[in-house]
Symmetry: C2
Subunit: 123 residues, 2 copies
DNA sequence: TGACTTTTGCAACTAAGTTGCAATAATATA
DNA sequence: TATATTATTGCAACTTAGTTGCAAAAGTCA
């Protein structure tokens, strides 16, 4: 009883999302796959629910998605050309923050961290 | 030659933004000040340009603003009741990240960090 | 194949935010 | 204080991202 059907559209979208190293927006997909925008949004919702992809909200307000099977990482975003570079943060941020949070009895489950600056070309 | 005029509306909005300890949305302001939404958005833009307030994008996609004269801090957000609590992170995150970023010749200027979890009441 | 269920496209809709323009309010100057 | 100048405001119309209901099409399974 497989609730999700692997349609043409779905596999095209998944392929794109898996093959693109950096987060992709609904609009990006719309330009690359010949499909209605309603379908794009519904597929994205369904793939998130299924745990195949993860939504990432950028501070420029664009919502993007990336493959869920990636290690925990963060993004460096060039404020000039909007280029995105992956980066991994060496320390356990949540653990460090939990110390301060505990004073207020808050239990941290997850976090969101993004860096902004200039890439090599734009400096 | 003062480009900005301290109108009734502007001072009401500023007062609210200064007196509210946590980030406020355009809609919050709209409900509290008898003024057209166009004016709210224009005032917010102008106050950001003037450096009086800072926009903060939350991962639930709401855009909020807070007084700019605050120390650098982050937010703990309760995923259940949406309550926001301020928190300061003890270490210099940008410095730590710059080490990884340097390998890719990226120069970090700023960052954005948010934590999610459950507040005391919602646990 | 046939029955059942999910997915799709379409058109219409919503919500947040933006724009142009004329009227109004604040400020500077005479 | 009166007047000129410039910024601010409200209004209506618009934009853009995303959503919804519904009928048609495509997948799945016996």
């Amino acid at each position: 009883m497989n609730k999700y059907r692997l349609t043409q559209t779905r596999s095209q979208l998944l392929k794109l999302l898996k093959n693109t190293p950096l987060p992709v927006s609904a609009e990006d997909l719309l330009q690359k796959v010949p499909v209605n925008k309603t379908t794009i949004y519904r597929q994205l919702t369904s793939m998130v629910a299924q745990g195949l992809i993860k939504p990432v909200l950028f501070t420029d307000r664009t919502l993007r998605y990336e493959s869920a099977d990636r290690d925990h990482h963060h993004h460096l975003i060039c404020t000039n050309c909007k280029k995105i570079i992956d980066i991994s943060f060496p320390e356990n941020i949540e653990q460090t923050a939990q110390t301060s949070a505990s004073a207020q009895k808050f239990k941290i489950n997850t976090h969101h961290l993004e860096f902004f600056g200039l890439c090599q070309n734009c400096q």
